[in-house]
């Protein structure tokens, strides 16, 4: 975990000199936050692990006791689990490609000077501040509805016929909505990174005869690399937990076409009341998130150290 070399954290060498904390006992200052976080992360985590080896169904209190690995065994025999894992990962990967790719192009465009730049920037970041349930319903009803939606009207006008988004392309439709919400985030972070680019580098490239396309690929793109990996890490954490957009638009359907792991656990736990099974799936969600997180943290750590 060497992610924070650039974040102003004390390096190990720096606090060897100050191990006492400057003679001030900071424990009472730090303890409440750390203690509460510890309780609120470890206790539910332990409970999830515990429930996952129990026979525990809220609808059937007669059934109980220790289940051992049975919840996991049933889960791994269930094709829905593997499909939901696929949906989770596909959602993350597709949204990441769209938001980081378009985010880089947009950041590069907004680094130039043009009239009304700050207003255009405000417009572009707006989707990030719209609550997930609202953005899902705007897209589902006002835009993507096959009869009355705006997009249906446009495609009909162009003679392309009507796309029934949530029936024919359910997962892609969810990806579009989520990407719309997260593109502003990627854009803002990449733009922040780009603004730290040395103006002289760009000028030198211009004097050497590099056009805007070349400047983008050979100067701006490498400069945004670290910020892009931070975007990937943060977005992955949030995108694995995508819930409201699915809940409001497709409810995981048609069939299980848009059921990601988060939605699967919600269904098992709060609709089917299968606490044991849902907890086992929860453990898998935690493992998946941690595999991705360590993988990404390591990738970012390497970049920060060089």
């Amino acid at each position: 975990m060497s992610t924070t070399a650039a974040t102003g954290l004390p390096t190990p060498r720096a606090h060897r000199r100050r191990t006492t904390g400057g003679g001030v006992n900071t424990l009472p200052l730090v303890a409440p936050s750390v203690g509460l976080l510890l309780v609120f992360s470890l206790v539910p985590l332990a409970a999830t692990l515990y429930f996952s080896v129990l026979r525990y169904n809220l609808l059937n209190p007669a059934v109980g006791g220790f289940a051992g690995w049975n919840n996991y065994k049933y889960l791994f025999r269930d094709p829905a689990l593997f499909y939901s894992l696929f949906v989770s990962v596909a959602l993350v990967v597709e949204v990441l490609i769209i938001t980081v790719g378009l985010g880089m192009i947009l950041a590069s465009l907004f680094e130039t000077n043009f009239p009304g730049r700050s207003i255009a920037r405000i417009l572009i970041v707006s989707p990030f501040f719209v609550m997930p349930t609202v953005s899902a319903l705007i897209w589902k009803n006002l835009l993507m509805h096959p009869v009355n939606g705006f997009i249906a009207w446009v495609t009909r006008g162009l003679g392309l016929g009507v796309i029934d988004f949530f029936t024919d392309w359910p997962l892609s439709s969810v990806v579009i909505i989520v990407a719309w919400q997260w593109l502003p985030f990627a854009f803002l972070i990449l733009l922040t990174a780009l603004q730290s680019l040395d103006e002289e580098t760009r000028e030198a490239a211009n004097i050497d005869g590099a056009g805007p396309i070349k400047v983008f690929f050979f100067i701006e793109l490498p400069h945004m690399g670290r910020a892009a990996s931070v975007v990937v890490l943060i977005e992955t954490i949030f995108l694995l937990g995508i819930f409201a957009e699915i809940y409001v638009t497709t409810s995981g359907g048609p069939g299980i076409a848009t059921t990601n792991l988060t939605f699967l656990i919600y269904e098992r736990a709060l609709l089917a009341f299968n606490v044991g099974g849902a907890s086992a799936a929860g453990v898998i969600a935690i493992i998946l998130a941690n595999i991705l997180a360590t993988f990404l943290v390591r990738a970012i750590g390497k970049r920060l150290d060089t």
């Binding site: 191990t19 000077n113 835009l143 719309w180 730290s196 931070v230 809940y247 656990i265 929860g282 998130a289």
Partner: protein
């Protein structure tokens, strides 16, 4: 700066095109909120119409709308106040008196954000049910405080780090204790930092839609849950949905425009500046 000061019409046009496309869904929703229900679903879509305030009047006239809005306000401001209260001393201690544990503590806080909420949904749901916290604002305030505490500590830590250490030492020499130093010397200096941290925290809590959908039913349901109720097939009132949505996002949109910069700082844990 010579290049930046030169206007670039081609890049500018593309940037504006992208901005208008990105904003279009929000614009279209705001437009629909001023249409009649028939007008909102009309094909071809109405572009020129007589605006009506009927939808806003309807939504505001519903007794429950105000209770949903009130829940959103209480929960997001309450969770923010609590998180700031917990985080200010912690961030102060770690920024000004770092110990051998500080680095590890901060990284561990970051790591708690990697625990997926759904991984702990079952025990938290059952716990809330058993102690009678289901569908209460208290449950949401606690969850949101814990959810955002790492971000708040990190943001305040980076703000405190930028404060000159000499000021603290001077006030300590003058005989002020740690608490007096925080309240009388440091707080006035970092107030802008705390304000922007609070703003970001309010935005995140206001828009949160996992715990609010799972832990509330009606009494404590905030606007996120109220809007979700429009997804039911019998609730296809597009104009009213648009009016309710516009009111639900308007204050947060303005907050968001103000706090763009802090968003970068807070959500990347200071890794991008």
């Amino acid at each position: 700066m010579s290049m930046r000061s030169k206007t670039q019409p081609v890049a500018g046009s593309f940037a504006w095109l992208a901005a208008l496309l990105m904003f279009f869904p929000i614009f279209w929703m705001i437009l629909a909120s001023f249409k009649t229900e028939v007008g909102a679903i009309a094909t071809p879509p109405q572009l020129i119409f007589t605006p009506t305030l009927e939808n806003y009047r309807d939504i505001l006239g519903r007794a429950d709308y105000l209770s949903f809005a009130l829940n959103s306000v209480i929960v997001s401001f309450g969770a923010t106040a609590l998180a700031i209260l917990l985080a200010v001393p912690a961030a102060f201690g770690m920024a000004f008196y770092p110990t051998a544990r500080t680095r590890g503590t901060l990284l561990w806080m970051l790591s708690t954000k990697m625990l997926p909420p759904v991984g702990v949904l079952v025990p938290i749901y059952l716990f809330c049910r058993d102690v009678g916290l289901l569908d209460t604002r208290t449950a949401l305030v606690i969850m949101y405080t814990m959810m955002n505490l790492p971000i708040v500590v990190w943001m305040l830590f980076t703000f405190f780090k930028e404060m000159p250490k000499a000021i603290i030492e001077a006030s300590r020499i003058d005989g002020a204790n740690v608490w007096q130093t925080i309240v009388h010397v440091l707080l006035p200096l970092v107030l802008p930092g705390i304000a922007s941290t609070a703003l970001l925290n309010i935005i995140l809590s206001w828009n949160e839609a996992f715990w609010s959908l799972n832990l509330t039913a009606h009494d404590a349901a905030p606007l996120t849950a109220f809007i979700a109720s429009f997804s039911a097939p019998e609730g296809l009132f597009w104009a009213k949905l648009s009016a309710a949505s516009t009111m639900a996002i308007a204050p947060i949109l303005v907050f968001g425009w103000i706090s763009q910069r802090q968003l970068v700082r807070g959500l990347t844990f200071g890794a991008v500046k």
